[in-house]
Symmetry: C2
Subunit: 157 residues, 2 copies
């Protein structure tokens, strides 16, 4: 299975934004993560289109989360970048060939599709149970309680 | 997320093979599913490399499952075609930029990676709980109890 590489950047950005004191310019976010602004801009636009971040212009402008970090799930961010299309696409193979399944049998989704979609639902449920707030708290736990103090200092510098 | 299109074909083939009376030539499998033999051959090779099917030569040769259908999970088939690589790749963003996480903090996997990998484990666990035998039984339930009788008749014709 393949997931868009931009998911990683977008999640990290949301975590930083969740603890920033105000809007953060794209340039600062890119610098903080050591990547090009152009590359990050694309993903910030996707987050914006999905309604997770908003941007303001001007000297103190930049990007900010549109709602509290505990109301943004990891699934929200993943879907903003990677889209909502199912990974498994049922092309109704059972209707092909010399012994196609009857229209009656096909009123219910194919058992293979049902099993594949159930697995994807399990994936989504797992992502939905984690919020950006959880991830930020996790960073404090793993890296140190003063982590975001230092991040805010750097962002303001 | 993207999943190889061949997964669908491979699963359907395994279901047919689980109820066939003997080895089934690739040509017949392709004909039964209404697709080109060349396209199917690639996926049959993947199933073979993963040890799920074996092929025999000769007049009554063809493909067969290597073990009972209740010992082959949907995960086995998916991984045979799509591979075992995680969808999410952690590139250790936290070590980038002006405030990299310390080596000490990085002894534990990043919380973002942990959450993404946990979601993929949920996906794998869901697929692992379904066997080819389950899927074949599901087909009988959905399409009719004589479904594989007719399939075997056609395969033998």
């Amino acid at each position: 299975m393949k997931l868009s590489g931009g998911v990683e950047w977008a999640v990290h950005c949301c975590v930083v934004l969740s603890r920033a004191e105000g809007p953060v310019p794209a340039t600062r976010l890119a610098e903080f993560h050591g990547i090009s602004r152009t590359y990050l801009a694309k993903h910030l636009q996707q987050l914006s289109r999905a309604g997770l971040v908003s941007s303001t212009e001007g000297r103190v402008g930049g990007y900010a989360l549109t709602r509290p970090a505990d109301a943004i799930t990891l699934l929200d961010v993943v879907q903003a970048i990677d889209g909502r299309e199912p990974a498994f696409r049922c092309t109704e193979i059972r209707q092909n060939g010399p012994l196609p399944a009857s229209p009656q049998a096909c009123r219910k989704a194919c058992g293979v599709a049902r099993a594949m979609h159930a697995a994807e639902q399990a994936w989504r449920d797992s992502l939905k149970a984690v919020t950006v707030a959880d991830l930020a708290a996790g960073v404090e736990h793993d890296v140190g309680p003063d982590t975001f103090v230092r991040v805010r200092e750097w962002l303001g510098s």
